[in-house]
């Protein structure tokens, strides 16, 4: 996974495949750490997987006996001193929280968050809700969008344009903060390197 937006898309796919109907994505900054939380109302993890959710050999997959999604997210957190928490309640759902410091030279960029969320919104039949900040503000609620659209599919070009616009507008402050964190941390670190001989 080359950036954090792909991990986010993967977490939403996990919820969709588990049979969740509603997924709440919350994104925010804690200082220089980017935080993402994906919470679903699915069946929760089987006990064996819940015991070691980020172990690649502990998986709900049936095509293969390896599940890399959470393992790769854990690796991304480990390489920057962050953390991943997985809370599963049987019959009530799963919440995955990732806290990912961005003032680290090995930090993955946020990536195309808008593209990832549009893909999730269009692709999966979920009531996806996206919120930003703490306390959080909802920037997209697909249940409300569907109610207004009646039977019009979310993949209709005009609806895709609407979704992109809503997400670009709502995520702009988060993206701006990412640039500030990068400028404050990475640029001084890079310029402190000795000049080439």
């Amino acid at each position: 996974m080359k950036d954090l937006s792909l991990h986010l898309l993967d977490l939403i796919e996990n919820a969709a495949k588990a049979g969740a109907g509603r997924v709440v994505v919350t994104l925010w900054w804690e200082g220089t750490a980017f935080c993402l939380e994906v919470s679903d109302n699915g069946p929760g993890l089987p006990a064996a997987v819940a015991a070691a959710p980020t172990d690649p050999y502990s998986t709900t997959r049936t095509e293969r006996r390896v599940g890399l999604g959470l393992a790769l997210l854990q690796a991304a957190a480990d390489q920057v001193g962050g953390r991943v928490e997985v809370r599963s309640v049987p019959g009530a759902g799963v919440t995955v929280l990732a806290v990912l410091p961005q003032d680290h030279l090995d930090a993955k960029p946020l990536g195309d968050l808008v593209g990832a969320l549009v893909t999730a919104a269009v692709g999966w039949p979920l009531d996806l809700q996206v919120a930003v900040g703490r306390p959080s503000e909802t920037i997209l609620d697909l249940a409300a969008v569907r109610e207004h659209l009646d039977a019009v599919p979310l993949s209709h070009p005009e609806v895709v344009r609407y979704l992109r616009g809503a997400l670009e507008e709502g995520l702009a402050p988060l993206q701006a903060q990412a640039e500030r964190v990068f400028d404050a941390a990475a640029v001084p670190a890079l310029s402190a390197r000795p000049p080439p001989a």
């Binding site: 796919e13 095509e63 293969r64 999604g69 692709g123 909802t138 207004h148 005009e158 709502g170």
Partner: protein, 118 residues
């Protein structure tokens, strides 16, 4: 949150389009979006498909996601089903391939033979 009023206008416009063609979508495109697909570029594939459909003004094709089909080395995988015809599965569908699938298969009606996963 962005105003939802805009959606009502879209709904009314699309309803008129649907009435013109008996309220049915003529094709479905499935993008495999498991961890393997995402890592291989399925998000960009989905975006390219949606962009190409919009560019060709195609509004009667539904695009949805699916999980891993077990052929991870072929990702991104895209399945196209037009009407009652058998579904065609394409492998290694990057953005350029996605644009070809829209132009040649969904608009032109011809399977893109060199992209078919066999």
């Amino acid at each position: 949150m962005k105003s939802l009023d805009e959606l009502r206008k879209i709904r009314d416009q699309v309803r008129q389009e649907l009435e013109l063609r008996s309220g049915r979508y003529r094709a479905k495109v499935v993008v495999c979006m498991g961890t393997c697909g995402i890592a291989a570029g399925a998000r960009e594939t989905m975006k390219a498909l949606l962009d190409a459909l919009a560019a060709h003004q195609v509004t009667d094709v539904a695009v949805v996601a699916a999980g891993c089909r077990g052929f991870c080395e072929q990702e991104p995988l895209v399945e196209v089903q037009v009407g009652e015809a058998p579904a065609v599965t394409y492998g290694h569908v990057d953005a350029a391939a996605a644009a070809r699938i829209v132009a040649e298969h969904l608009v032109g009606g011809r399977t893109v033979q060199d992209l078919v996963f066999r």
